[in-house]
Symmetry: D2
Subunit: 145 residues, 4 copies
């Protein structure tokens, strides 16, 4: 980030249900990736660019890599905070970083990221077009105003 | 069923994973409906009519009703038997009946059914076409030969 | 319901993610049962009786039957309303009724119910104890005050 | 690996259901982590050490990190091969590597890994005990005999 840039980030919450847990009494590891999706949906919506709109424009952003480090466990009925940030250093496709907190004590439960290819109408990899990068750049400058 | 008809049915197995369980230490109730889908996929495949082929012909069979009665619990690493039968008395759409057994003792764990509308290429409800009813009828007569 | 009774009900919302959909472009049928769980969690919380507290008291309320009728489809990014009501005519165990609406147009997407056995500390079926029935009865009288 | 060591690995298959897919028409990215679990369950079972037995001995192996690179997509009704290998260079906890192939053409669909902490009866991190490392070491020598 240059000095006039600010992180594009978003916080949203989710309440853990029984269906998210497993018999270890904590949330099943694969379900954190569902939360990462909630986080990026809300980050994109917060900059005026809901993913449903991106798809309507013929662009897909499939996940090319996903990673999660599990730090402390999350239990049934816990409210969690999903903090999602855009990694502005990545130009080809998108990289999003996630931190999952337990809301009650703001203890970090997990950290992860996803990489996304940008596919155009013919299914080929392209650079993210201006209608995507524009709102993200604008959001990274907003705090200056 | 008339005297010369036989049930169109199929048995297939599945091994329960951690991700299927919840913190009660048994399988989460919604996951039985995934097993019902495994069952109907395999029943259709067994009569030479995989659902992927039905879709290629432009027909969709969305679920219009789903029901499950939970009788005894299923645990992590249990192998289950999914028994699926076609209810040949239903003519508009499809009705499938399911019984879930624990393989080790053949104890019934759950019973349920799904009803499916039959949607044609324009998304309107139609009678199941001959390419679907044919193989199912043939299968119901097979045991006579 | 006698004339002085009122429905114990709750409305909560949920935003559909990609992970809820299937290749038909709509929400996978089994996922509605996750929403039913969200609904009953919030209904119980709204009467001061979160299910986590019920479990801490040694009581389990496993699902003994689940049913869903699918009326109109729900898509990615739709916001839905989950309306959950207690069926006060059922005394042994609990019965909950659910209606899923699309929030944008309040179109009914699905209707369903779940039946729950009430298991005591030794795992045997019991009548729901007073610490459960009390808050539910109180909530059904609240509107009179 | 020293010259007399051989990889501890396992191959198992799974048939993709509708419930695994999303509206992009391919398998939802989080579901690959369920397949990784199927893979490690079967690897452990193949060396005579089912995870259910590990738990009965009071040991838990929660996931501390999970990673997946998505290489080519997997569709409804595809049969996949889950190849799981133990990384014998990791001594504290366990590391498992996964490759997902489409069975029809043995095209690689995804590669990933999971790291697992080893928790003893008091919930503290321990070195994997001999009843776990023994069968794994034995399996790595088996091909010599």
């Amino acid at each position: 980030m240059t000095p006039d840039q600010h992180p594009v980030s978003n916080q949203t919450t989710y309440r853990v249900i029984y269906g998210d847990t497993d018999q270890m009494g904590v949330v099943y590891y694969a379900n954190y990736f569902r939360w990462f999706e909630i986080g990026r949906n809300e980050l994109l919506r917060s900059v005026g660019l809901p993913y449903s709109e991106i798809e309507r424009q013929g662009i897909l952003l499939p996940v090319s890599e996903a990673n999660c480090k599990y730090i402390s466990s999350v239990c049934y009925d816990d409210e969690i905070v999903i903090e999602t940030s855009l990694d502005t250093s990545v130009r080809s496709g998108l990289k999003l970083d996630y931190i999952i907190y337990r809301k009650a004590d703001m203890q970090v439960a997990a950290k992860g990221h996803t990489l996304h290819a940008c596919l155009g109408k013919d299914g080929r990899v392209i650079r993210p077009p201006a209608f995507i990068t524009g709102p993200l750049k604008k959001a990274s400058r907003k705090a200056d105003v």
